[in-house]
C-alpha cells in the first residue's frame, strides 16, 4: 500500500481530525489521488461542523414553554354589597409559562338545616353554629378564612323538609347579611323544585353576582339562566364527566342570554378512589381544549370537593385504618389538590384544615418560577 492509501485508510476510521493542523504538500501527491482526498477532507469537515452544532443545541437548556391560542374566561363574582372574587383568566397551562392571574378560590359549604349526618371531624368545627346558616357562614369566614360561602338550600327538598320559597328566602337573607364574601347558592338537588328555588334566590340576591348552582340538562335550566340574566348572577353549568354534554349545556345556557363570563363549569368531581381518574381525564381535556381555543369550553371550572367525604375511607370507623379524625381531612385535601392540578379554579369544601392546605398550595400558582426563597435541602439526608 502506498503512503497516500495508508493515510486514507487511517482517516476512514476517524471522525475528528484537526483540520487546522493538517498539512499536505500538494506536489508530493499523485494527481489521481487528489480528488479522493479532497472529497474526504470535505466530508470530515462537514461531519465536525454537524457534530458541533448538535452538541451545542443539545446542551443548551431551553425552557419548554408553549404558546396557546386560547385562554380561560374570567368570571367575576360579588360586588354591590360584597367583596369581589375573580375566577379563571389563565392564558397558559403552567405557571412557568405564565402564572395564573387569580389564585384558586375556596368556598365553604353551609346548609340551611342542622345536618346532623355530617362526619364528626366537620361537626366538631361547626356544631355550635349549625342551627343558623348565618352564624355558620360567619364562622367559616371569620375563623377559617373562607373566600366564599356556598349556601345549600337542602331543606327545600320535598323529601327533606319541604321548606317553602319564603322560608328559603329568609335563610338566604340571613347569610347575605352575615357575610360580605360572594355566595354560591345551591338548591337541594330536586329537579322540580330547584329551578323555583334558584329563581327566588336570584331575585332575593339581586345584583350581588352570586353563582347559582346548578343548571343541568335534566331540569328547567332555562328558568335558572333567565333569572341569572335578569338579576345579574353567574350560573354553574353541571355535566356528569362528559365533555360533549358540557358543551351542549354551555351552548344552551348562552342561548338564554348568559355570556361567556357568566358561566362556571362543574365537570363533576369523583372522589379519591371513587373514580377520581375519570375527573382527572375530563378536567384535563376540558382545560387543554380551552387553551387550544375551543371557546365553548373556556369557562373556569368548579369542583365539588366535598364529595370526598362520601368515600368510606374518609368516614368509616375501622381501627386498622387509623382515626377518622385524620382520614377525612386528608381524603378531602388529596381530592382537592388532584383537581387543582387539572385546572380547577373554585373548590367547594368542608374541613378547615383541608381548606388551609389547598389555599396555601393554590397561592403558589400565582407566583413566578423561582420567585420565592426555598429551603436548603442539599444535605437533607442527615437533617432529620
Amino acid at each position: 500500500m502506498d503512503t497516500m492509501s495508508q493515510i486514507l485508510k487511517l482517516l476512514e476510521k476517524t471522525d475528528s481530525i484537526e483540520i487546522n493542523e493538517f498539512r499536505m504538500d500538494v506536489d508530493e501527491l499523485e494527481l489521481t489521488i487528489m480528488p479522493t482526498l479532497q472529497n474526504f477532507v470535505q466530508k470530515v469537515v462537514e461531519k465536525q461542523v454537524e457534530a458541533k452544532k448538535e452538541f451545542e443545541s443539545q446542551i443548551e437548556f431551553k425552557y419548554p414553554v408553549k404558546d396557546y391560542a386560547g385562554k380561560v374566561n374570567e368570571v367575576k363574582l360579588g360586588g354591590k354589597n360584597r367583596k369581589t372574587v375573580k375566577l379563571g383568566g389563565q392564558t397558559s397551562l403552567y405557571r412557568f409559562e405564565e402564572p395564573q392571574p387569580n389564585a384558586p378560590t375556596v368556598t365553604f359549604d353551609v346548609f340551611d338545616i342542622p345536618m346532623n349526618g355530617l362526619p364528626r371531624p366537620i361537626k366538631e368545627n361547626f356544631e355550635d353554629v349549625m342551627h343558623s346558616p348565618g352564624e355558620w357562614a360567619e364562622k367559616a369566614v371569620k375563623e377559617f378564612g373562607a373566600d366564599m360561602i356556598t349556601l345549600h338550600l337542602i331543606g327545600t327538598d320535598p323529601k327533606v323538609k319541604d321548606k317553602s320559597l319564603k322560608d328559603a328566602a329568609k335563610d338566604l337573607e340571613e347569610v347575605l347579611q352575615a357575610v360580605k364574601v360572594p355566595l354560591v347558592i345551591g338548591g337541594s338537588g330536586n329537579p322540580k323544585k330547584d329551578p323555583l328555588v334558584l329563581e327566588m334566590a336570584a331575585e332575593v340576591a339581586d345584583g350581588e353576582r352570586c353563582l347559582l348552582a346548578s343548571a343541568n340538562l335534566d331540569l328547567d335550566y332555562q328558568k335558572i339562566a333567565q333569572a341569572a340574566v335578569k338579576h345579574d348572577h353567574a350560573v354553574l353549568s353541571w355535566a356528569i364527566s362528559d365533555v360533549n354534554m358540557q358543551k351542549v349545556l354551555n351552548k344552551a345556557l348562552m342561548k338564554e342570554g348568559l355570556t361567556a363570563n357568566d358561566i362556571v363549569m362543574d365537570p363533576t368531581t369523583c372522589a379519591l378512589g371513587y373514580g377520581i381518574e375519570f375527573s382527572i381525564d375530563v378536567m384535563t381535556r376540558t382545560r387543554l381544549s380551552a387553551l387550544k381555543g375551543e371557546e365553548i369550553l373556556q369557562m373556569p371550572m368548579s369542583s365539588g370537593t366535598t364529595n370526598a367525604w362520601g368515600s368510606r375511607e374518609a368516614w368509616m370507623k375501622k381501627d386498622e385504618w387509623g382515626p377518622t379524625k385524620y382520614r377525612g381531612p386528608i381524603w378531602e385535601v388529596v381530592t382537592g389538590i388532584t383537581m387543582m392540578l387539572c385546572g380547577v379554579d373554585i373548590f367547594m369544601m368542608l374541613h378547615p384544615l383541608s381548606v388551609k392546605t389547598l389555599k396555601e398550595i393554590g397561592t403558589t400558582l400565582t407566583y413566578e418560577y423561582k420567585s420565592k426563597e426555598s429551603q436548603d435541602i442539599s444535605d437533607w439526608i442527615n437533617k432529620f
Binding site: I59, Y63, P64, G275, I280, V334, I337, S374, I381, F384
Partner: protein, 457 residues
C-alpha cells in the same frame, strides 16, 4: 410524539403470516403502537429493522429496575403527559426511609412495618415498594452495617449518601441486589458514576432546583457510560412547592415532547423533606408529607422517598396511585351476571348493584363480612357507580328487567322481591313497571345491608 401504527407497519415484514397471533401485520402494528404486543412475537423481524423498531418503540421515559427477585420494582416507561392519551405505566415506587443510626430493634421494627404495610382496594393489595437507607450518621461503618441488615430483607433498597466512600462500603455489601444509588451530585459525580458502572446499579442525580445544571450532569453521566439514571430535581415545600412542580413538569415535557435524551429518565421525589422542619403537631407534618406526595405523584413522580408509615397517611397516597395508573382504555368493571353469597335457596333475598369494580368489591366485601346469604344481580352500567349510572341513565327499569330475565332469577327464588341501592331510589318505579317485581329501596351504603336484611327479611 407518539409513534403511529403506520410508522411501525412500514418496518414490519408485511407478509401477514399470522405467527404473531394477529391476523395481519397492520393489526400487529396497531397492537404495538398501543403497547399491547411485543416486538419479539414477530418471527420474521430481524437485523436493522428490528433495531430500528426497538428504538422507535422505546418509551419516552426509560424503564429502570431497582432490586432483584420477586419484589424488584420497575419505574419509568411513560409515553404521554396526560393519562387519557394512553395510560401511565409502572406505578410510582414508594420507598420509606430507615436511618443508619437507629438501634437494632427500632430498625427492625420500622423495616417490618414498611414490608408489611398493606391495604386492600377493589380486589388489589396495595403495598410499599422499597426502603431508603439514609446515611444519617455520616459514618461509613454504620452505613455499611445497616446495609448488611438489608441484604436479605427481600425488598429493594435505595442507598442514600453523598459520600462516595460510604456508598462504596455499602455497595460492597449489597451491590449485587441492584440498589438505587442516591445520589450523584455536582461534587461527587465522577466517583459515584464509577460505582454505578462497577456494580451495574441505577443511579440518581440530585441537582436541586437547577435544570440547566441537571442537563449538563445528566449528559456527563451518560457520556461516562451510565445508562440507568433517575432524576431528582429536589423537593422543596412551602412556598417553593410550585418550583418543584414546575421542575417535574418541565423534565417530563422535555422527555415526552422534545425527546431530550438528557431528561428521558424517571423522576424521584422526596416528600420526606417535610421532616426537616416538622410542624408543632406531628399529625400535621404527616398530612403535609402525604399532600406533597399526592401533588408530585399527580405531576410525574416515578419514585418517592417518604418518612411516615402510618396507615392513614399512606392510604390516600396508595389510593391515588391505584387510580392514576389504571388503564383509561378499560373501564374498571366486573362481569355483569348473577353472583351467590353464602348458602342460597329459594327464599334468599335478591339484591341488585352495578358492575363498577369498586361498587362490586365494596358490596361483596360487606355481604361476606356480614355473613349474608343472598343472590346479587350485577347490572352492566358500563363500569359506572350507582349514582353516576342512575344519573347517566344506565341504571334503569328496562336494563334491570333484561338482566333479571337473562339470569333466570325467577326460577331460582319463590318470591318476587328485588332490593336496590338507596342511591337508585328514583328508578324503583321504573323497575317495578318493567319487571313486574316488587322493588324494595335498600340502604345508601352497603355496610348497612346486613342490619337492613335482618330487619326486613
Amino acid at each position: 410524539m407518539k409513534v403511529t401504527a403506520m410508522d411501525i407497519y412500514k418496518l414490519l415484514p408485511r407478509t401477514n403470516c399470522g405467527k404473531c397471533g394477529e391476523a395481519s401485520c397492520m393489526a400487529f402494528a396497531a397492537k404495538l403502537s398501543q403497547k399491547e404486543a411485543e416486538l419479539s412475537n414477530c418471527p420474521q423481524l430481524k437485523g436493522a429493522d428490528f433495531e430500528k423498531l426497538t428504538n422507535m418503540l422505546a418509551p419516552a421515559v426509560k424503564e429502570i429496575k431497582i432490586g432483584t427477585g420477586d419484589r424488584a420494582v420497575t419505574i419509568g416507561g411513560d409515553e404521554v403527559l396526560y393519562r387519557y392519551e394512553l395510560t401511565y405505566y409502572n406505578p410510582t415506587a414508594l420507598a420509606v426511609d430507615l436511618s443508619d443510626d437507629m438501634d437494632d430493634s427500632e430498625f427492625d421494627q420500622k423495616l417490618s412495618e414498611i414490608k408489611n404495610l398493606e391495604f386492600e382496594r377493589t380486589g388489589e393489595i396495595l403495598k410499599l415498594n422499597a426502603v431508603a437507607l439514609r446515611n444519617k450518621s455520616g459514618d461509613l461503618e454504620k452505613f455499611k452495617k445497616a446495609a448488611e441488615k438489608l441484604k436479605d430483607a427481600g425488598i429493594p433498597v435505595i442507598l442514600c449518601s453523598f459520600d462516595p466512600k460510604a456508598m462504596e462500603a455499602a455497595l460492597d455489601v449489597i451491590g449485587s441486589k441492584r440498589p438505587l444509588i442516591y445520589a450523584a451530585t455536582e461534587n461527587n459525580i465522577n466517583e459515584m458514576s464509577e460505582l454505578a458502572l462497577k456494580h451495574n446499579c441505577p443511579i440518581s442525580l440530585f441537582v436541586p432546583n437547577d435544570l440547566e445544571k441537571m442537563k449538563q450532569l445528566s449528559r456527563k453521566l451518560r457520556e461516562s457510560g451510565v445508562k440507568d439514571i433517575v432524576l431528582d430535581p429536589g423537593t422543596c415545600i412551602g412556598e417553593a412547592i410550585g418550583d418543584t412542580m414546575d421542575n417535574f413538569i418541565m423534565i417530563r415535557r422535555l422527555a415526552v415532547e422534545e425527546k431530550d435524551d438528557d431528561f428521558r429518565f424517571p423522576i424521584l421525589a422526596v416528600p420526606a423533606v417535610c421532616w426537616i422542619n416538622p410542624e408543632e403537631d406531628e399529625i400535621l407534618t404527616k398530612m403535609k408529607e402525604a399532600t406533597t406526595a399526592a401533588a408530585l405523584m399527580n405531576r410525574y413522580a416515578d419514585a418517592m422517598i417518604l418518612h411516615g408509615v402510618d396507615i392513614w397517611e399512606m392510604m390516600p397516597v396508595l389510593t391515588l396511585r391505584q387510580s392514576l395508573y389504571t388503564d383509561p382504555r378499560k373501564p374498571q368493571s366486573v362481569e355483569a351476571k348473577i353472583y351467590e353469597f353464602g348458602t342460597v335457596d329459594e327464599n334468599s333475598p335478591v339484591i341488585m348493584t352495578t358492575n363498577f369494580a369498586l361498587t362490586y368489591y365494596t358490596v361483596a366485601g360487606d355481604l361476606k363480612s356480614g355473613k349474608v346469604n343472598c343472590y346479587l344481580l350485577v347490572l352492566d352500567t358500563g363500569g359506572k357507580a350507582v349514582d353516576v349510572a342512575v344519573a347517566g341513565g344506565q341504571f334503569n327499569g328496562k336494563a334491570a328487567a333484561e338482566l333479571m330475565k337473562e339470569t333466570g332469577i325467577e326460577k331460582l327464588v319463590n318470591h318476587k322481591k328485588l332490593i336496590i341501592p338507596g342511591l337508585a331510589a328514583s328508578v324503583s318505579g321504573d323497575i317495578e313497571d318493567q319487571s313486574g317485581w316488587e322493588v324494595i329501596v335498600g340502604t345508601r351504603d352497603s355496610s348497612e345491608v346486613p342490619a337492613f336484611l335482618a330487619k326486613i327479611w
